[in-house]
């Protein structure tokens, strides 16, 4: 890539791109977690939580993060109203 592109901030350097791509792919490599499995995991977590709270399914964020060589599952789950005192036995639709 040309020096001018970089001077004018058009494209990040290939070094930065490599680092970012590696960091992302390694998080999933290390955990042995595929994007498909992550989707299944999200659905099941939501199903269980739905027994206690009313969840906005579209607002859910679930991803893996990294601290050193330790992986973290980070979830951001917005919900409406109050937590139910007694969990409903069936899953919210």
């Amino acid at each position: 890539m040309g020096i001018f592109d970089r001077l004018f901030g058009k494209r990040p350097s290939s070094r930065d791109v490599a680092k970012e791509r590696l960091q992302l792919v390694l998080i999933y490599d290390r955990a042995g977690l595929s994007p498909e499995l992550l989707d299944t995991l999200r659905d099941e977590i939501v199903d269980v939580l739905s027994r206690y709270i009313e969840i906005e399914r579209d607002g859910i964020e679930l991803h893996l993060a990294q601290e050193g060589r330790e992986a973290m599952l980070v979830a951001n789950i917005p919900f409406r109203g109050r937590v139910k005192k007694t969990p409903s036995s069936h899953v919210q639709e």
Partner: protein, 263 residues
């Protein structure tokens, strides 16, 4: 005092494991230690040619395991450095000819007689790799600043941690300072941040490696070469010396001119 068994591995092939093993073995011998280098890449042996000892092989590691010779008989002594030895791999067999337990036994048998036993691991994560780490007291992971090599190094580190092998340390090989400066190569700091393990050496990309491999003379014999200094520094760190990591020098016009006149 019993020696230390150090395995050199990488995951990805072609990143410089064998060159690193040959040079660290020679560097440790130059520093006055007794060393044996084991080629654990059965079926694809190469440490012998990189060390320049290919014409002197009589027995190999499979002959030892299968009882056709004693361990001592299979060791080749390097005439340039009498404290340097090679235990060659078999070329006509495959990885299954030696088990991890047998490899650990060979390391244990060599440990009392040498200061350092270096094991050159094959690429991959299969039995050859498991053999190579079976007897290790410590493991060096070689990688280059490329996404594929770093990804494979990460996989290897995960496997080594799961196997509770350690301590682990990283050698970053074939660094091109000018490319790093231009923003077109991962820097040491990037790779360390990603892999989160200790660093033991940074080896610059160096054409003299190819020349030395052509001749079968490890590059550490010529201390003027930048990679030779890097390997000697790693050898010193292995024996516990505190050697600071110098920033790699870019090749200037004068360096290129000198190199041209020498060649």
């Amino acid at each position: 005092m019993a020696g230390t068994v150090i395995t050199i591995t990488s995951g990805k092939g072609g990143v410089g494991k064998t060159t690193t093993t040959a040079n660290l073995a020679a560097a440790l011998a130059l520093l006055g230690h007794s060393v044996v280098a084991i080629d654990a890449d059965i079926g694809l042996r190469n440490l012998d040619v990189v060390m320049g000892l290919e014409n002197r092989i009589v027995y190999d590691i499979v002959d030892v395991v299968e009882g056709r010779c004693r361990l001592r008989q299979a060791l080749i002594r390097d005439k340039r450095l009498p404290e340097l030895h090679l235990l060659p791999a078999a070329q006509t067999r495959d990885k299954s000819a030696v088990s991890p337990r047998q490899m650990a036994e060979i390391c244990d048998a060599l440990r009392p007689h040498f200061d350092y036993v270096l094991v050159d691991s094959p690429a991959g994560i299969e039995q050859g790799f498991r053999n190579a780490i079976a007897g290790a007291d410590r493991v060096l992971i070689v990688t280059t600043p490329e996404v594929s090599a770093v990804r494979d190094a990460d996989r290897i580190i995960g496997l080594l941690e799961a196997a509770e092998k350690g301590p682990l340390a990283l050698i970053l090989n074939r660094v091109k300072p000018d490319m790093v400066r231009r923003g077109d190569m991962l820097d040491v700091s990037d790779v360390l941040e990603i892999l989160a393990i200790d660093l033991i050496g940074i080896v610059p990309d160096d054409d003299s490696i190819i020349v030395s491999t052509n001749r079968g003379t490890p590059v550490v014999f010529d201390e003027r070469q930048p990679s030779a200094r890097a390997f000697l520094n790693i050898a010193r760190r292995l024996r516990g010396e505190q050697i600071p990591f110098e920033p790699l020098r870019e090749e200037g016009l004068i360096d290129r001119l000198l190199k041209f006149m020498r060649s």
